[in-house]
């Protein structure tokens, strides 16, 4: 059994989200989020909300907060680029809490060169926008990292995110 299987980190994330009272789980699918999306979709206490682009998630979660519900946005690192203005002009201008769970592409081991530039830009872009970040490389670190950043967001009223690295989730294989 691999370390990933032993720690079953998607289930740990789902449990943390449940404990935090997260109700709206917005997402643009990514392979790394596949299991978590399934868990949230099956959870009657949560509403899984597929988006056409990640940017919708920023406005959606601000609206959820206005209405008294907590939410999170699951996406791949490429999606961060689609959210920039909304994070600046809505989340930060109004100081809405924001909680992002981001699976990384474009790190070491990435075999699609088109993924590399945005992967490299992901953390700097979010930091420039004032989003607090932590990176997770190992399955046993996931639960604590997600819980701490969720608290920073929902209790601290901040924009915060967890970067789930390719070391954690594995790299995509391109093969004919």
């Amino acid at each position: 059994m691999s370390e990933s299987e032993r720690f079953d980190w998607p289930t740990r994330i789902h449990q943390v989200l449940g404990r935090c009272g997260v109700r709206q789980v917005a997402y643009v699918p990514d392979t790394g989020h596949k299991r978590l999306i399934e868990l949230c979709s099956e959870d009657r206490g949560m509403r899984a909300i597929p988006l056409t682009t990640e940017e919708e998630g920023i406005g959606l979660l601000a609206g959820a907060w206005l209405g008294g519900e907590r939410g999170t946005l699951l996406m791949q690192s490429s999606g961060v680029g689609n959210c920039v203005n909304a994070i600046a002009s809505i989340t930060q201008a109004c100081r809405f809490p924001l909680f992002l769970l981001i699976t990384m592409r474009g790190e070491s081991g990435e075999s699609n060169p088109w993924q590399v530039p945005m992967g490299r830009a992901t953390a700097p872009v979010l930091e420039t926008l004032g989003v607090a970040l932590t990176t997770v490389d190992h399955p046993h670190e996931v639960e604590a990292a997600v819980a701490s950043m969720a608290a920073r967001s929902f209790e601290g009223g901040a924009a915060a995110g967890v970067l789930l690295s390719q070391r954690l989730i594995g790299t995509k294989v391109f093969r004919e």
Binding site: R23, Q24, R47, I49, P50, L51, T52, T53, E55, E56, G57, I58, G59, L60, L61, A62, G63, A64, W65, L66, G67, G68, E69, G71, N85, A86, A88, S89, I90, A93, C94, R95, F96
Partner: protein, 198 residues
């Protein structure tokens, strides 16, 4: 292409009609013209005015409607703002919140930036796009009777519902609501949630 402009509705009168006797209605406005229109109809703690984040009015209304299923939610936005986030109509269709109404105040212009033509002046039909996105109850309104009917429907109908309200191109001028986003957020939450707002 867009037909006679002589009988277009007045945007201020149209938005005033939409929020008439609003009761417990929650309202989100898109940045620019529709924020001025909503402010002109009377400031309210349960108005959330966007001053930025173009394209986000409908997603914000959706998140709010899902969080508050027992309250009615109205998004009032412009054609330019709606065009920037068309995918959100498909996202709304999938969630199908019964309590969400979207009114697009369509002057076929980017009124804040020099009245450049939007795509709706040149053939794009937002009501047809909304229907094709999966929201069957999406109509174009060109007169007061249609508007009045939509106003009644947004308090009663099984949503989501969309109305594209064709209005004239007169620039109605700015009516400025509070522009501090933190204040707007907090006063909305306090009014809606009371002590739970924190």
């Amino acid at each position: 292409m867009s037909g006679s402009r002589s009988n277009r509705l007045d945007r201020r009168a149209a938005v005033t009609e939409l929020v008439r006797d609003r009761g417990a209605l929650l309202v989100v406005s898109g940045l620019g013209g529709t924020t001025w229109d909503l402010a002109s109809a009377g400031d309210h703690d349960l108005n959330f005015y966007l001053w930025g984040g173009m394209g986000s009015a409908v997603p914000m209304g959706l998140g709010l409607a899902l969080a508050q299923p027992r309250r009615r939610v109205l998004v009032v936005t412009g054609d330019g703002e709606m065009l920037m986030g068309l995918g959100a109509l498909a996202t709304v269709a999938v969630q199908a919140p019964a309590n969400l109404a979207i009114a697009v105040i369509d002057n076929e212009r980017y009124g804040e930036t020099g009245d450049q033509l939007t795509h709706t002046a040149q053939g794009s039909d937002l009501a047809a796009i909304a229907r094709a996105a999966g929201i069957p109850d999406a109509v174009t309104l060109v007169d007061g009777a249609g508007l009045e009917a939509f106003r009644d429907k947004l308090h009663a109908a099984q949503g989501p519902i969309v109305a594209v309200v064709k209005v004239g191109q007169d620039n109605a001028g700015m009516v400025l609501p509070p522009r501090d986003g933190v204040h707007l957020r907090q006063r909305f939450r306090r009014c809606l949630l009371g002590d739970e707002a924190g």
